[in-house]
């Protein structure tokens, strides 16, 4: 009989090799994903710069406010869609923290957008345009928070679908330890996630019904 006891070591080495290849492949795929989002972030940064310049032009040259509003909406919607697809990848197991860092950059971009929107709103006094900032927990392990966030997300999508040209949605992760986000949370006394900040005035922390939310937004 041929004794095959060396098979134990061969199998171990083979399994380790397969696992290392698998891990490298996994890291490669994650890096590829991260790179594509890096590109999106770069494009969005350019769009934001464009936005800022347009706002400046509005204030300096009396250019029509409406001219910039459409651009803001289209940019905000695009950044929102990108964030949604980023979250799908965020929710699966990750070997590295590359997407988390991109998520932070997106959050910062959205804060800048929000800030631009505030400036623009003051200057142009848009009627029937509402900004909803949605603070949520990034990759929450709490089932209650996770489920409540899903309901919040559906609610906001329903509202956005009903008023596509009147609502700007700005989702921001509240637990990524970003300095500016922490300052915002403190200044608006927001201590729990998920929470909504409607038109920089009203904080909603308890899950409302669709009708209640609609009323709150339209009356704000």
């Amino acid at each position: 009989m041929v004794n095959s006891k060396h098979a134990f070591w061969q199998a171990l080495v083979f399994t380790i090799i397969i696992f290392v290849i698998g891990l490298m492949l996994g890291l490669f795929i994650e890096n590829t994903r991260a790179s594509s989002f890096e590109n999106y972030v770069s494009i969005s940064e350019t769009s934001l710069l464009d936005e800022q310049i347009m706002n400046k032009l509005v204030s300096d040259s009396n250019v029509s406010c409406n001219l910039t509003l459409n651009n803001t909406f289209s940019f905000a919607d695009r950044i929102y869609t990108q964030a949604q697809s980023l979250e799908k990848y965020d929710s699966v197991s990750q070997l590295s923290d590359s997407l988390r860092e991109i998520h932070k950059r997106y959050d910062l971009l959205r804060i800048l957008l929000w800030n631009e929107m505030q400036v623009s709103q003051k200057r142009c006094n848009y009627q029937n345009v509402h900004t909803i900032v949605y603070f949520f927990d990034y990759n929450s392990n709490d089932l209650n928070i996770e489920s409540e966030q899903t309901a919040f997300s559906h609610l906001l999508t329903d509202l956005k679908n009903k008023y596509p040209n009147n609502i700007i949605l700005i989702p921001i992760a509240s637990n990524l330890n970003i300095g500016s986000v922490n300052i915002i949370l403190n200044s608006y006394n927001i201590s729990s996630s998920p929470s909504l900040l409607i038109d920089d005035k009203l904080v909603v922390s308890n899950l409302p019904s669709f009708d209640e939310l609609e009323k709150l937004v339209l009356q704000s």
Partner: protein, 410 residues
Amino acid sequence: MNWVDIVFFIYSFIGLYFISLFLFIYYPNRDKLFSYPKGKPEPVSIVMPCYNESATIGHSIEALLNLDYPKDMLEIIVVDDMSKDDSAKIVREYTKKYNNVRLIVNSRNSGGAAEPTNLGIRAAKYDYIAVADSDSSPDKDALIKMIGFLQEDKLVGGVTCSVVAKHPVNFIQKLQQIEYFVIGFQRKLLDFIDSVYVTPGPFALYKKKVLLEIGLFDTKNMTQDIEIVWRMHTHGYKARMCLATKVHTSTPSKFSRWWKQRVRWNIGGTQCIIRHKKSLFKDGMLGIFIIPFFTITTFLGLFGLVLFAYLFFTRLISTYLSTYYAYHANTVIFSFSDLSFAPSVLNFFGFTLFIIGLLFTIFVLKLVSDYSLKNKNVFNILFYHIIYLSIYSVLLSYALYKLIRGNYTW
């Protein structure tokens, strides 16, 4: 990565390791799978324990009488364990007709196969003992192909052959047919690393001297056919596997009987681990491979169930909460935008492992049988892989519960 991911990683690693191990054993030995040492016929006593087997005992005795082996070198001893049916009466008819068939009636019902088998071994005339189940029939060439393994090596105490399902008719029997083919092939591969851990009851051949030396079958163990091999290892002996011949055994046709049989097997396996725990890392391959293999698979099976229960209840609670909040907010419970396919590296590992396991099963079925891959059979293989094997975790937990409670019978 969270702890569930890490556990899944470990499972994938161990699963891939064992599949790799089988492949690395198979490849250099692929030409020797069905070979066997040519032995010369020597007298054999075949011991057949029997309890309430009137439906099959006659057929089983006929199969033994029809073995391609010199008739004057065969002795068939049926040991009736106080059957309540006509088993003893049927055997008595054979004793009248054939002078090499003997009947021993146990003075009590022992409730297992070990005690009547031991009675038969003690009464046996010859130096080689075959043990056969009363609901099984070996191929005609079984004895002649198996005996050479015992003759070529003085350290071989027992030899087993491939066990296959006899006339699988219904679904659960067809699943067992697949399982038996895979187990038989794996056992042959383990033979190449001196790690055969069982000589299954349906048909096995032993040296009487070895059986007596190690103290015969353990009457307290629920799987005496596993325990006897482990004890052989502790005495420096080993068992071999002959894939060139097979024995056809009746398989449970109902889920409840299948469940009962498998619970017994799992209780017995665990009893073996407990009894031989001191052999861990000692006594050759018993301590180096067999006991760790049994212990790891038991632990993984149990922990897998705990993990499944955790994930299942987490999902259940999450669904409840999502429904509650959606109802409260008067919004949808689920939207298609929630659906996403963003596979992680762990998904790739899991999927790859599943495919490799599936291919391994298909490969084994093609190699050791004429199993056809028609529509129904493909479904059976998939069901075997996804559902049948998963039930083992539940089964194992139940078996351990019964073992701890001391509430088990044959």
